[in-house]
Point group: D2
Chain length 341, copies 4
């Protein structure tokens, strides 16, 4: 068989591990040929690719990023995207395409699949917001990086008596905030799923100081927002250069909490460091298993599906289902975190 693989969307630790696993399983065990498209869907649309043999994937298992490059180009956004993709597929004699990507990529994959292309998706997101799969690779690394940073920040906050508001990734869901906050013993966690009441938050943080504690750590998902009407909130938006205004929830909260509590408060924005670099062992194993099972699905002709982790098993799940809903933090999980606050 001849299989094409591509990585699309933002960076995510484990992409290279999937690519490597696809090549190992396909080439060594099945005798397939594998090609890798450059820069995501763009490579497919422009027929820009290279052959991936064992040497091409040697030594990449633990490396961050993706040797294939990525972009945010989505074929579905192009008028003739599906047709061009189909044309190149035929031209290159490909039996299947394995796109590795997040929500946008999987939506595109579904459209191409609906359009008749033989596709097996591999879900990727540090945000852990893809339904159907218990978790995706990249998330564990992101949580680990955030937790390590929180561990470091805690000693500073403690010795120097301040409130730190630490902004972690998560525009639509609060999974990274929840798990890193829980792992590091944060004293408050705010997530997009549950707009916060600034007065309650102030009370919660203030209670620590009343109990004689000298510092507090608040973890805020970047998409966390105040409950409507409880706090003036600057959405940020563009500045005069057309760039993000760098407002951000952590900065707003640090201003609010400092004023309300009368304690020094400082924002820390962890940023891109959460989505790059060497993946944790957990993510490498999951990514490797996803790659392995994607190749198996190709050989079984199970198209229009994507790999998913359910319990300890890798199963195949319809692309259609995967992109229907965003997996958000349920109340029960949030409640568990509160016990450690």
């Amino acid at each position: 068989m001849r299989i094409g693989v591509l990585t699309s969307g933002g960076d995510c630790p484990g992409l290279n591990a999937v690519i490597r696993s696809v090549v190992h399983r396909a080439v060594v065990d099945h005798g397939d040929e594998v090609i890798g498209f450059h820069d995501g869907w763009k490579g497919l649309l422009e027929c820009d690719y290279r052959k991936l043999d064992l040497d091409a994937v040697s030594g990449i298992l633990a490396r961050g990023g993706t040797i294939l490059g990525s972009s945010r180009v989505q074929p579905a956004h192009l008028r003739d995207g599906v047709e061009r993709a189909k044309g190149h597929l035929a031209e290159l004699g490909l039996d299947a395409i394995i796109p590795i990507g997040g929500e946008g990529t999987l939506k595109a994959a579904r459209l191409l699949s609906d359009g008749g292309l033989p596709i097996v998706g591999v879900p990727k997101t540090i945000d852990n917001d893809i339904a159907v799969t218990d978790v995706t690779f990249g998330f564990d690394t992101a949580v680990g990086v955030a937790t390590e940073a929180l561990d470091r920040l805690k000693t500073t906050a403690e010795s120097h008596q301040r409130v730190l508001i630490v902004e972690v990734m998560g525009r639509h869901t609060g999974w990274i905030a929840l798990n890193s906050g829980m792992a590091a013993g944060a004293h408050a966690i705010v997530v997009p799923e549950r707009p916060f009441d600034i007065e309650e938050l102030t009370k919660q943080v203030g209670a620590r100081f009343e109990a004689g504690k000298k510092f507090a750590i608040v973890v805020a998902a970047e998409g966390a927002k105040p409950r409507a009407g409880t706090m003036e909130y600057d959405e940020g938006g563009k500045d005069i250069y057309g760039h993000e205004r760098f407002a951000g929830i952590a900065r707003q909260l640090s201003i609010e909490l400092e004023q309300r509590l009368g304690k020094e408060a400082r924002p820390v924005i962890l940023g891109h460091v959460q989505r790059g670099g060497t993946p944790t062992a957990y993510d490498r194993v999951l990514a490797t298993r996803f790659g392995w099972h994607a190749v198996e699905a190709v050989h079984r002709g199970e198209f229009g599906m994507m790999t998913a982790l359910q319990g300890t098993e890798i199963v195949m799940s319809p692309l259609a289902e995967a992109v229907e809903t965003l997996k958000t933090v349920p109340d029960a999980r949030y409640a568990e975190a509160e016990c450690v606050l």
Copy 2:
């Protein structure tokens, strides 16, 4: 309510996180009282304990070890163990005991439970060999430590052209070997579940050298053994001082592979470093959730049960089932690992 907690058996990253979570949930949310028995079951049998309030568990979330100490004493081994435990329970006015421990501890917990004590267990093992739960805390940390060591060793092996046989923990099961080997891209993995054929192993490792590669990494679970009759194997045993002979599978394999391949081969035994120190974020979250749900089970009166992870949910599972079978590496998982070899 009044709850007793204890940690028993070998060290495991995350023990303190469970203790802390039990105290937070019980004391803060339920208004319970919590006491901690010292040195495992020994503390219960000898009525040696201390009160655990919020201050007592402050700052322990990320710390390895257990503030309560541990021992390998098992009440079931003592003639009047169950009776003494019962007596102390009544004396102290305890409504429940939450023992945190591995297979032996859970077996003891079951016996005590059968004897009428109100027990909710929390499973603990770096080996991941407890059935019913998808995984236990400590395992992720152990795999992470082993993977980091393998990452380091790989560059040495590569530059200096040798075979390294790296022994990781796992007397009865190969989970740590499987996952760390997969995560680090080992070239062969041997586990207790599948006695190896030394000739096949030699062939597998030798194939790398024939393909022009200059090094190989073999990961061996400490309990891995050759298939009967394929290789002389020294079980180790005691030396003249009555101590372990420090034979070990890695040393045996390094001798065998060096002779058979004509390549320098060296053993590395990772040892206790795998079971100590600060837990990963993953393990801290899991441990915290286990603690939370153990307290909930106590309040619901669900005794004779233990916490378990199934998919993304924490469920309660009968102690009886938990200790019935050892969770071993299934062939399907082993096959997945082979694709990266």
Copy 3:
């Protein structure tokens, strides 16, 4: 003897290691008594302290922060600061004070010493800007944290084709930028000591893209500034709430470079994570040696001095000299870094 110790100024990994070492050397080896003042000079001025015995410093060697707390209060700023300090010294029967702190703290120490107090200083700064000593503890940890972040960011930049401008600590000197940039293989480093020319910087970064590379990493010390007249530069200042405007060199550079290069550019501000958490082994050893030698100096009656590393030796250096000049990055060191750009 009776010795007082205090920690003053911003957080710095290794503070606890110094405290512990002072206590070990003084109490165990000399039979001294040690007390620790709370929250820096404030504790001395308000006679707020506690006894430090072996138990008090048990387990703190690897912990970030300071068990004594810190503040930015400087006795010299107070009208009767020196007199009050002297009074409390006599009252408590102290033979010496060991203040651990940065430039401001050492200046205060000098004033107190000039005023007749028996003082042996221990220099502390993550910025490495204290003359006389080759290096201070905390710096290695800060560089290590920044380098690890840069390692992570590099893979993202590479895969996703962008320019990342990473802001590291260093208001007055570029040591952290220099060493972390050199360690991580940054493609440009800007430091306060050498105002940059935005056109030259653009050319330097642009040259990479012309050579076919797809990304670039610029490390900017927070105090780096454009050469006068070469670029509009917003100093930040206060916003309407009276808080910092969060302008910052990384943000400005990302806007400038994006416009000039026509490549996506993003700022990353590492922030407080550089100055907290567990110290590296290097910093723990240096901090421990500083503490040991400070006690020795006290016993030799060498006051008005501070510990310093020169080569591999710890020597005593006059406080007067220490605070005279800031240790800046010399041209020769900057030139070495350019070779790897």
Copy 4:
């Protein structure tokens, strides 16, 4: 100019950083040509090499091992080694050779230099035993790895009440033992420079238990030995297969201390993990500076010298001096470590 570079001897984190730095400085800044010999001196003797341009060293800065490979072949051991080396130098039109290696390599370098070859050495050893230079790259990484392992082991020892004897690298000198022991707060450190008295060591460790502590960590350099006549000591030697007997100081000590103290004692041998993998920021900076200055020395025609760190400066030091004496742990440094025991 045309420069040859090679790496010889055991693995050491930072080798690739030196190679990269040599290439960057020579090729980019001086317009030189650089070739790399494969597998140490062997490559020079067999004229086995490859060209090293910027692409060849791209991405290797943070990678452990050496892209050039290494071996323990020493030209001086060969009858016509010097002549063959000279012949190949002329044949290849090389103006200089930069060998990167430890004591043996530098001795060979000196012999070749005495024989008239234009050589600038770069010292390399994780053991820190090369005189003249304050420190060499690789040492900081080794100490860091050992310290991290000790941090992990400490929590296990504490919770489970045992003595752990941790063997770290250092056959002839105790630098790694000294610094990692000091950094991790070991309770006893034994080094080759000071043969220990087993009775004193027992007393020292025993004192902890008498003081109510429940565990102890002993760090032993692999070359540490008992004072003659104080303890039976098995040197190890070869077993029937001709392999090392795996005796080792940690195992002997664990047996002795267990018997004498009546406490469970266990050996942990850290092994090769100390000498591989990604270098610390400190080592990357030092290695980069060494490479840079080696090229400068070549251009100044300063042959027969090697790079050395003195204080914060890189200086050139005669090869002759470098190999004359081993840098051992002086009593004063050992005394500093005792204060933390």
